[in-house]
């Protein structure tokens, strides 16, 4: 969900003043959306003016003035942070509302939060005698980029092999004759975290 960015702590003085003024102007223009801002916009205006004056005073490299300016900056940042929280609650993730308050929306989290569904109907069928291969098949999933098939000998400590297939069917070759194997499969869509099917077993012939 979008929220107003609070990443203004590394803006220089001119950028921070511009940002504060933008928020004030836009929230004033859109007072129908932001009816009861907390803190009030007058507080923002006061903090902005105080910071602007302090920046002007500090321009002459006076140490006391620089220290005072930093204090005023801290106060302005607190007012903006509090307003950002108000905008976040009002906007409820709506990017247009966030922008209409003069804030920038945050970057979306990865679009990849969806989980791959568990593979259904994994079927494994040996080819003819002496072929040393089996045909593996799962129900197709339209969002799958790949189908990951895994197999291993059905014995303790056997190593797994993974094969990627762009299609929902795959011939797995070079198996050992009369050896029982275990198979499982997963869809790989935008999310690349496998979600494996139940394990099925068959003999290679």
């Amino acid at each position: 969900m979008k929220k107003p960015t609070m990443n203004f702590k590394n803006l220089d003085a001119a950028q921070l003043l511009q940002f504060a003024e933008e928020i004030h102007n836009k929230m004033t223009d859109n007072s129908d959306i932001f009816a009861t801002p907390s803190p009030e916009l007058a507080t923002l205006a006061t903090a902005t003016a105080a910071y602007r004056d302090a920046v002007t005073e500090a321009a002459f490299n006076d140490r006391r003035a620089i220290s005072f300016r930093n204090e005023k900056r801290g106060e302005l940042e607190t007012v903006i942070s509090d307003l950002a929280k108000y905008v976040e609650i009002t906007a409820r993730g709506n990017q247009t509302v966030i922008l209409s308050a003069g804030f920038l929306p945050t970057k979306d989290p990865s679009p990849d939060s969806g989980v791959n569904p568990k593979v259904e109907r994994l079927a494994v069928q040996p080819h003819g005698l002496g072929s040393l291969k089996v045909a593996a098949k799962v129900a197709p999933w339209e969002k799958a980029r790949y189908y990951q098939f895994e197999y291993r000998k059905k014995e303790a400590g056997a190593e797994s092999n993974a094969v990627l297939s762009p299609t929902s069917t795959l011939d797995i070759e070079n198996l050992e004759a009369f050896q029982e194997y275990e198979f499982r499969a997963s869809y790989l869509g935008k999310s690349t975290t496998p979600n494996y099917s139940d394990v099925v077993s068959t003999f290679a012939l």
Partner: protein, 230 residues
Amino acid sequence: MKEIVKQHPLRPIILEFDIDKPALDFETKALEAYYRQHDRTWDTKQQLLQHKDALFALEVKITELDYALLPIEQQLDFLEAGFQLTDQSGLPFIEEEFTIDVGEFNNDIIQHNRELVELWKGVDAEQKWYNEWADHIYENESWFDEQDDEGSDLIHKVFRHYEEVSVDIVSLDRDQQEFFGAVGEVTELQDEYFDYGEAILDLYTTLHERSEKVYRRAERINDHIDKNIL
């Protein structure tokens, strides 16, 4: 006042110190935090540049595989028409006779598929990093962590106690403003990286969908040959 220059790959940190004043404990910690912020910004910049380069390499390969589909699709049009699997009316007129070797054609498809699978491994690795970074930035809004925030508070404290600290806050202020500029540049780089990453992942999805259609058409032709010719 003594000017001390600390060479940092992000930018040189130039501060002046009153050497008659001992460095206070919180001041030392504040400056260590300031250097740490530089380290983290530099590290972020390096990572973003490295992954942007990796995306560029993927773009080259995607484009290559995209072009490789063109002659395959053209051959498919003629093979489908030749085996009367589709209407022939849309085909371009070619004056001279030509042949398509189905064996070679199938090899091209297999090779394309192998390269697409190989490409996917690279796309997968970059997509993971992209997603993790996007999630991190969504949660934290920047590459700075809580320790850096505590460091910023300490730096504020240095400004408040300007009469007691040994670092000259005029030099610290000037240096910090320049650091903010460097942070802004890395933020811009990050925006570029996110835009580019999104474009490359979309490009790959388009290539994958187009390839899938081609593979299905080729399978249909091979099925037809198996059933009706062999």
